[in-house]
């Protein structure tokens, strides 16, 4: 057994860390306050130039072929500086990964290099609907074949990067009569296609710099060959690809949790009350000990899930455990960090309230904690009933 990262993984980690500290951290608070989308997009372009948008993409499509462990490390480092940037990078990687795994050669060559190079700021993953969140099979967006064109109608919700995405992966019902979940297909819709309208921006609690919008499909005509993967096989694609996405979001949460605890611990070391540094109080020591222990456990769960994926082993259970634990541990860590800094923690003068807001959604998006628990229990029960 060897828990040491490879030299390439260490170099990717340190490159991500150095870039994040130099370019992302200085602007993160300003981007959170809104209003400087240009700076945010500029950073995305720089990250693309360094290869962060296609970590698992093959060389021929402009990717780094660096593997899932490197992906996890990179997202954690980016999130330590800016969660909004990290989620955008994670989703871009997810979109590349979907196209690479089920796309035709033409689709791969058309879209993946554009996301990897930064020609597209982003790609969007349009699965969720107003009435279909944890239960995506209940979606109502429809795709009907008219001659040699698909016509899409419906509304998608909470779509990351929609205003600046170059392409959307859109899931829609292609066979209403099929059993639930068996009649959904997946489509590639380029931005600017008539009938695809980027709707209102969500007013969110955190991760303000990353746009989250409604996407409305109104008589949206796309060519017959815009279907991604097999007809009526779309939901399986979403479920399969979200496994990797979960490692991304867990890694993001870990980064925010670490940033919060690192900040709060340094603060506590300098903060004097009752004539002593507050780190001399056991109450503070336990917060530090608990949070770092949980974050370390989260890191190991994430590494295990990523490692299994790289080895071609089943990792659904491990990815769900890692996402569940990492996002909830990070939420607790941010809560403790804010508490450690007292009134300053609650003030916008410190970054802790931003971390606490940014981290909250990690146990919600790309599969809520409740859904992760369902998956974990199902996987365990499956194993036991087989035994």
């Amino acid at each position: 057994m060897d828990l040491e990262l490879s030299q390439e993984q260490k170099l990717i980690q340190s490159t991500a860390r150095e870039f994040a500290q130099a370019e992302l951290e200085p602007v993160a608070a300003r981007l959170d306050q809104g209003g400087d989308q240009a700076a945010f997009l500029d950073n995305l372009k720089k990250l693309a130039g360094l290869g962060f948008m296609g970590l698992n993409v093959r060389d021929e499509y402009g990717g780094a072929q660096a593997g899932m462990v490197a992906f996890s490390l990179a997202i954690t480092e980016i999130a330590r500086a800016c969660a909004s940037t990290a989620v955008t990078v994670s989703v871009n990687n997810l979109v590349c990964s979907v196209i690479q795994s089920v796309g035709t050669e033409i689709q791969k060559k058309t879209y993946i290099p554009k996301i990897c190079s930064g020609e597209f700021f982003a790609g969007s993953f349009a699965l969720t609907e107003p009435g279909a969140g944890s239960d995506p099979a209940s979606m109502t967006t429809s795709a009907v074949l008219h001659g040699n064109e698909w016509v899409l109608n419906g509304t998608k919700r909470f779509i990351t990067s929609a205003p600046y995405a170059g392409v959307f992966i859109v899931w829609a019902v292609t066979d209403k009569a099929a059993p639930k979940g068996k009649g959904i297909s997946c489509f590639l819709v380029p931005a600017g296609t008539p009938g695809l309208v980027v709707g209102r921006a969500e007013q969110k609690m955190g991760q303000h710099a990353a746009a989250t919008n409604e996407v409305i499909l109104e008589q949206c005509h796309i060519s017959q060959d815009a279907i991604l993967g097999t007809l009526n096989g779309g939901l399986r694609v979403a479920v399969g690809e979200l496994l990797g996405g979960r490692i991304g979001i867990g890694s993001l949460a870990l980064g925010v949790g670490l940033a919060a605890m690192d900040y709060a611990t340094r603060y506590a070391r300098d903060r004097v009350q009752f004539n002593q540094e507050i780190t001399r109080f056991q109450a503070i020591q336990w917060m530090i000990a608990d949070a770092y222990t949980e974050l370390e456990a989260a890191r190991l769960l994430l590494m295990q899930a990523a490692f299994r994926e790289e080895r071609g082993k089943a990792f659904a259970r491990e990815a769900a455990m890692a996402k569940l634990f990492a996002t909830e541990a990070a939420n607790r860590a941010c809560y403790s960090a804010l508490q450690m800094a007292g009134g300053y923690g609650y003030s916008k003068e410190f970054p802790l309230e931003r971390y606490a807001r940014d981290v909250r959604v990690t146990s919600i998006y790309e599969g809520t904690s409740e859904i992760q628990r369902t998956i974990i229990a199902r996987e365990i029960l499956k194993e036991i009933s087989q035994g």
Binding site: E8, L11, I12, T15, G49, L50, G51, F52, D59
Partner: protein, 258 residues
């Protein structure tokens, strides 16, 4: 054209240092290591020469040290180096700058390098001697502390930083050794695809004993952390009063005011 870039791996300077049990160097255990910052400027400049002249330029990245220094060499390869040389030495700190330069010279002597880039100094030992001694051993021209570099044919023009805010322009012909100062350039980040592709580049390892020559000229007698001096003086209170007290202190204890 053949370029050699000599790089060193040094601890993260934000680490907490402890003196080792022999009392002559820092304890390397538990330290995180990275590429010496000045050597990044050297690497960047070498890659820029390659970009200027094209693929006829071949860049060798060399480092002396234990296995961990391979990471520093790989960063150099990912930034644009063509091949790596790892001279294996588990205790490079036991060699003084003269001996380190001698090892590099023994390796480089028959390789026909035209240009050697290295950092002005290492961030840990900070002797700033290796580049100069290496030039002397190889019989190359030498310029140190560069903040600008230009190559035309075999003529090198550089700007050298001097004390007191002065600079000097130097011109000399290849072959040459140059040492790089902060401000020379902004080192690029290695791209992820290049980090992965660097695995395919040649990286040869040799034991340092292959190149060992003369003995140390200087030995470290003792290493220690400076003793803690008294705390600074913090003046608090009413601004006018504080200003008066400050003037008093400056008059009494310094030569700033008389």
């Amino acid at each position: 054209m053949k370029i050699l870039v000599c790089v060193k791996q040094v601890p993260d300077m934000e680490s907490r240092f402890k003196v080792n049990s022999e009392g002559v160097w820092y304890d390397e255990k538990d330290l995180a290591f990275k590429l010496n910052e000045y050597d990044e400027f050297a690497l960047e400049q070498a890659v820029r020469v390659k970009e200027q002249l094209g693929n006829t330029v071949d860049i060798t990245v060399l480092s002396i040290g234990p296995d961990r220094v391979v990471e520093a060499i790989k960063k150099g390869l990912a930034m644009g180096g063509d091949r790596g040389i790892h001279i294996k030495d588990d205790h490079p700190w036991q060699k003084d700058p003269w001996q380190i330069a001698s090892v590099i010279a023994a390796f480089a002597r028959d390789k026909n390098f035209d240009l050697v880039f290295t950092g002005l100094q290492s961030q840990d030992r900070g002797s700033a001697q290796v580049g100069g001694i290496l030039a002397e051993l190889l019989g190359f021209a030498c310029a140190t502390t560069l903040v600008a570099f230009e190559l035309n044919g075999d003529l090198v023009t550089v700007r050298q930083e001097l004390d007191g805010g002065m600079c000097a322009i130097l011109k000399f012909k290849l072959p040459a050794v140059v040492t790089c100062q902060m401000g020379l350039n902004t080192p690029r980040y290695p791209t992820l695809p290049n980090i992965m592709k660097a695995r395919q580049k040649e990286l040869l390892a040799f034991p340092v004993t292959n190149f060992i020559g003369p003995k140390n000229l200087a030995a470290t007698e003792r290493m220690y952390l400076p003793e803690k001096k008294g705390h600074g003086l913090v003046l608090e209170g009413d601004v006018n009063e504080v200003a008066d007290r400050l003037v008093g202190v400056l008059k009494e204890k310094t030569t700033v005011l008389r």
